[in-house]
């Protein structure tokens, strides 16, 4: 990616997960990923693929652009 176009992706996964009273393990089980993956996504250490981001958005009940983006 051209450095001029590079973006730093932030997300609201932790906030929305906690609003539902789910643990990282609960969300990981629904996504069929490891708890470490959920933790890495929440801590901005791993950007999920588009299909996984769409599943996260569906589970958390928000459009994907409301959960993942540059200006959150």
């Amino acid at each position: 990616v051209d450095p001029a176009l590079a973006v730093s992706v932030k997300n609201r996964v932790r906030e929305l997960r906690m609003a539902r009273g789910w643990s990282q393990i609960d969300l990981a089980a629904q996504l069929k990923v490891s708890r470490q993956t959920v933790n890495a996504i929440e801590n901005l250490r791993y950007d999920p693929s588009l299909p996984l981001a769409l599943v996260i958005a569906k589970l958390l009940g928000h459009p994907v652009e409301a959960i993942f983006g540059e200006d959150l």
């Binding site: 996504l31 490891s34 993956t37 791993y46 693929s49």
Partner: protein, 130 residues
């Protein structure tokens, strides 16, 4: 440990036990001479016989990859790259030392070093993302 993980490790144990049994049987015939002297045409398939159970490792490893999520697969691939590059560097370094008089090592040592590095790299990734 989940039931799926337990059954997969049990399967690996079975494959390794079959490999060990085939290796012992093969070595008994070739090294200890059990059954008397053999022509070379018979020695080759007996020497390679342990590869048959060992080949089952391939679907086992691929199956393990398919059970992983996308971040775990990425970590595994990064670990394999690190292991391949570092073991290549070590192998080239030792080849230069052999010219200086160090003893020759069997080719299989490179593979053992690579697997060891792969395991270390995976554990480092797991520790970083625990």
């Amino acid at each position: 440990v989940t039931p799926i993980a337990a059954s997969r490790w049990l399967k690996l144990a079975g494959i390794l036990a079959a490999f060990a049994a085939a290796s012992v049987a093969s070595a008994s015939v070739l090294v200890l001479g059990v059954g008397g002297p053999l022509p070379m045409a018979a020695k080759v398939p007996i020497a390679l016989a342990p590869l048959l159970p060992a080949a089952l490792i391939v679907p086992w490893v691929i199956g393990n990859f398919r059970l992983m999520d996308e971040m775990q697969v990425r970590h595994q691939l990064e670990a394999i790259v690190v292991a391949a590059v570092v073991s290549a560097f070590l192998a080239m370094g030792y080849a230069l030392l052999e010219i200086a008089g160090f003893p020759r090592l069997p080719m299989s040592v490179v593979w053992c070093v690579m697997v060891g590095l792969w395991i270390c790299a995976v554990w480092i990734q797991r520790w970083r993302f625990r």
